[in-house]
């Protein structure tokens, strides 16, 4: 099994150095050699289906469904280039199948009429005639995205011989019937991309959009590739408030045990134009009462009102001394939108550690245009953020992970909140993973 990330600059060199065996014939075309792979027909080598991405900090996680039972199946290649290069060199350049070639919607074969598209991703020019390419109708297969509530059995079926792009995963016993050689994969795949494959191994940059396609690879000399997946775009975005040593883990805000007059608050100042968040030290929240608890809405708490600040607070007075709040001031520029427990990753059948899920996006609508909101914090919640700055709207979210308490009761308990803050890398971007339809 082999995964390989291709990029614009050096992929040909890498390809040549990696694949050294002679050519074999593809299903159409005779150019199947290690430097010039032939495209196999769809019924000869199944292309990756339903590619989706998960935006991560400095990384993009790609997932796709696979149906590769071919005896000569070897694995997958992931090709990636900057979207700017894609727009300049690949977009609109594929013309086969005639009249309906749109690799942003459905896969295409590598052949003469589509050569420019593949050249943009670094493959050599193809002279293979596209006419006669098999299973033309299959190119219309669009599938649909894997969404947050898409259960898969990947967790139970780790893949034999599977390598991710970033790391090799352990093999486990497959639970599906397979041919005796135990090679095929008929389950979802995943690949996390953190760097390009150029000579410098350039890291993916937050705020830069990339284009990816995935193909299946076959033959001992890796000389056959499948039709492509559809192109998927995504833009890595920073987790701006995260665990200092491991960004995949949330930050932990700890409220100490306290006496009845010591309501506390943390202020988080958001700067959406630079995608930064600044966490302040824990502060007293004076004057809080049961009916007017410690939050950004309380005039008694001495909070600033004209900033893009949000507050995480804990009230010391009232019926529920464990109660925690997230709030934004009425005179500020942040609207908080509760999204509920959108913290479950069905692909892995577990709660996420950072609130990043497939199909991740800010709410389509926000319920109010009024600033100044306060919500109770519970375990495993997402709060969307709409931040207005200079009349421009920016989006982000606060992920609340586990909330845990120390021993004791009421105010005698410490309270620890796991929290991540994610800000979109540019104005007006609601969808973390840039869908093709958003490009038009």
């Amino acid at each position: 099994m082999l995964f390989k990330l291709w990029t614009r600059k050096t992929q040909v060199t890498t390809f040549i150095s990696t694949l050294v065996l002679p050519a074999t014939l593809g299903l159409f075309g005779c150019d199947g050699d290690t430097t010039d792979p032939a495209t196999a027909g769809i019924d000869d080598l199944n292309p990756p289906g339903d590619v989706v991405s998960i935006t991560r900090d400095g990384k993009i996680e790609l997932r796709w469904s696979a149906g590769n039972v071919e005896e000569d199946f070897k694995g997958y290649y992931v090709f990636g280039i900057k979207k700017a290069d894609y727009d300049a060199k690949a977009k609109g350049k594929a013309t086969y199948p005639k009249g309906k070639a749109n690799p942003e919607v459905a896969g295409i074969p590598r052949c003469k009429d589509n050569s420019a598209f593949f050249e943009a991703f670094g493959l050599p020019k193809s002279e293979t005639d596209c006419e006669g390419a098999p299973e033309e109708t299959a190119a219309t297969s669009t599938g649909t995205k894997l969404t947050a509530d898409t259960p898969t059995d990947a967790a139970a079926e780790k893949l034999t011989g599977f390598l991710s792009c970033d790391e090799e995963k352990a093999n486990t016993t497959p639970s599906r019937p397979r041919p005796a050689d135990n090679k095929p994969v008929v389950t979802p795949q995943t690949c996390t991309v953190s760097k390009l494959a150029d000579k410098d191994k350039t890291a993916l940059a937050n705020g830069t959009t990339y284009a990816f396609v995935v193909v299946a690879v076959a033959d001992d000399d890796f000389s056959k590739i499948s039709w492509t997946s559809k192109v998927i775009f995504d833009t890595p975005s920073a987790t701006v408030l995260a665990n200092a040593t491991d960004k995949a883990k949330p930050y932990e805000l700890t409220f100490p045990a306290f006496t009845s007059t010591d309501s506390k608050k943390f202020k988080i100042t958001l700067d959406p134009t630079t995608s930064k968040a600044t966490l302040g030290a824990i502060e007293d929240c004076s004057g809080a009462t049961d009916s007017e608890p410690c939050s950004a809405l309380s005039k008694k708490n001495g909070l600033s009102t004209a900033t893009s600040d949000i507050y995480i607070s804990r009230n010391a007075v009232g019926t529920y001394l464990q109660r925690l709040y997230i709030s934004a001031p009425a005179g500020g520029s942040v609207i908080i939108q509760p999204r509920g427990p959108q913290t479950y990753d069905p692909f892995k059948a577990e709660k996420t550690a950072d609130g990043r899920i497939p199909g991740d996006a800010a709410a389509k609508e926000f319920p109010t245009t009024e600033f100044g909101t306060k919500y109770v914090i519970y375990n495993n919640q997402i709060f969307d953020l709409e931040i207005t700055k200079s009349n421009v709207k920016y989006y982000g979210k606060v992920f609340i992970g586990d909330v845990t308490y120390g021993t004791g009761t009421g105010s005698a308990m410490t309270a620890t909140v796991k929290i991540n803050v994610v800000l979109q890398p540019g104005a007006g971007i609601k969808h973390y993973a840039l869908e093709p339809k958003a490009l038009d």
């Binding site: 059995d153 008929v186 109770v376 919640q381």
Partner: protein, 385 residues
């Protein structure tokens, strides 16, 4: 690469050897005429899941990688209230072993999911007229099972369509099924087919089961001002009523003015205090806010808006925040266009719960001192989890 199981001579010999087996004596899957084919000839469907759209309407979703030239769609097997099948939930039914030999237990299990094609309660008994197919029911001359091929954008698999030409699917597909009765447990598998459904895949999809929810729409609720003057919803009584049928699935909000505490008051409290409407559970009921959804609990919200799953309670009544639920007697702000999960204990030990979903369709809050009105939609859970 495509080596049809039927054409392997050694299998014919093996079939003859095994002819005394009770399994093969009167079944149509004798070795000269196998119908389940190996993985390298036909890939199976996988990732089957069910969206419960309420009142007996469900949507099945699955993934396929079926670019086989003679691929001819999917057959859907289903059964109601069968404990043997339900016990397989999450697992596949294998019809061939690694050596390509039929698995009797798999066929037997699949035969339990052969309904009669008209309703989901009655097992089917029909066999194909030419008696070729061992893993009936099937479609070809008769539509005994819902069968479908991907249509249009290849997402919708329209039930009742028959394959007349090669079709493909490389991704996800769905199909809608109606006519289920809320409260019964239905289990399904999807099987890919080949050659006008004369061949089926060596394995089914995972068994997926559902106990359909009932729906109460447009429930008008009026709430009087004051924390001790709630309106209550008896969700347990509603559940009992819904078990009788859709027409009986009704609830009447009750006024409970002058109570001491919602914590000790039967039913789910809806109350108005501190200028805000609230849900307030009692010692057997907890509430979780699932967030804001403009379109309610719709298929579009489920697919496009990442409609959240509710987390199940692992321990009732612990400190605030456990599993995202309120604790007994703790009010939770009630907001327009939000969906809430209401966990109601199914037993005194509070070890299992019914998880009802309530959508606030419309909310009109008035100034303190006046009554508030709201309209709710309730998706009634008919199974404790």
């Amino acid at each position: 690469m495509k080596m049809a199981f039927a054409l392997r001579p050694y299998r014919l010999l093996l079939a003859a050897t095994l002819a005394v087996s009770p399994l093969l004596v009167n079944c149509s899957d004798d070795e000269s005429d196998p119908t389940a084919v190996a993985l390298d000839e036909l890939k199976f469907a996988f990732g089957l899941r069910i969206q419960d759209q309420g009142n007996g309407n469900i949507r099945l979703w699955w993934s396929g990688a079926n670019n086989e030239a003679d691929f001819s769609g999917y057959n859907i097997y289903g059964v109601k209230d069968n404990a043997t099948v339900a016990a397989k939930a999450g697992s596949v039914i294998q019809l061939l072993d690694d050596a390509g030999e039929p698995i009797a237990a798999g066929k037997d299990l699949l035969s339990k999911m052969a309904y009669n094609g008209k309703d989901w309660e009655t097992p089917g008994t029909e066999k194909r007229e030419d008696d070729q197919v061992g893993y009936y029911p099937f479609y070809k001359d008769k539509t005994i099972l819902p069968s479908c091929i991907p249509q249009g954008d290849k997402k919708e698999c329209k039930v009742g369509t028959k394959a007349t030409s090669a079709v493909t699917l490389n991704g996800m597909a769905y199909t809608d099924l109606t006519g289920l009765k809320p409260g019964g447990q239905y289990c399904f598998v999807v099987v890919s087919t080949l050659d006008e459904a004369t061949k089926i895949s060596s394995s089914t999809s995972e068994v997926a089961c559902v106990v359909p929810r009932s729906i109460v729409k447009d429930l008008a609720v009026t709430v009087t001002d004051g924390f001790k003057n709630p309106t209550t919803l008896d969700l347990t009584a509603l559940r009992t009523a819904c078990a009788k049928g859709v027409a009986d699935c009704k609830i009447t909000p009750a006024s409970a003015t002058g109570i001491t505490d919602c914590k000790t008051t039967p039913g789910l409290c809806i109350e108005y205090g501190t200028s805000t409407l609230h849900f307030n559970g009692n010692e057997k009921t907890a509430v979780q806010d699932l967030g804001y959804y403009t379109g309610g609990i719709s298929p579009e919200a489920i697919e496009d808006d990442n409609f959240p799953m509710y987390y199940k309670l692992t321990k009732f009544g612990d400190v605030q925040n456990l599993d995202g639920y309120s604790i007994p007697g703790q009010s939770l702000p009630l907001q327009n266009k939000h969906v809430y999960a209401i966990a109601t204990a199914a037993n005194d030990a509070k070890t299992s719960f019914y998880y009802d979903l309530i959508y606030v369709t419309k909310l009109t809050e008035t100034a303190s001192g006046a009554a508030n009105t709201l309209t709710l939609e309730i998706r009634v859970a008919n199974k404790a989890e």
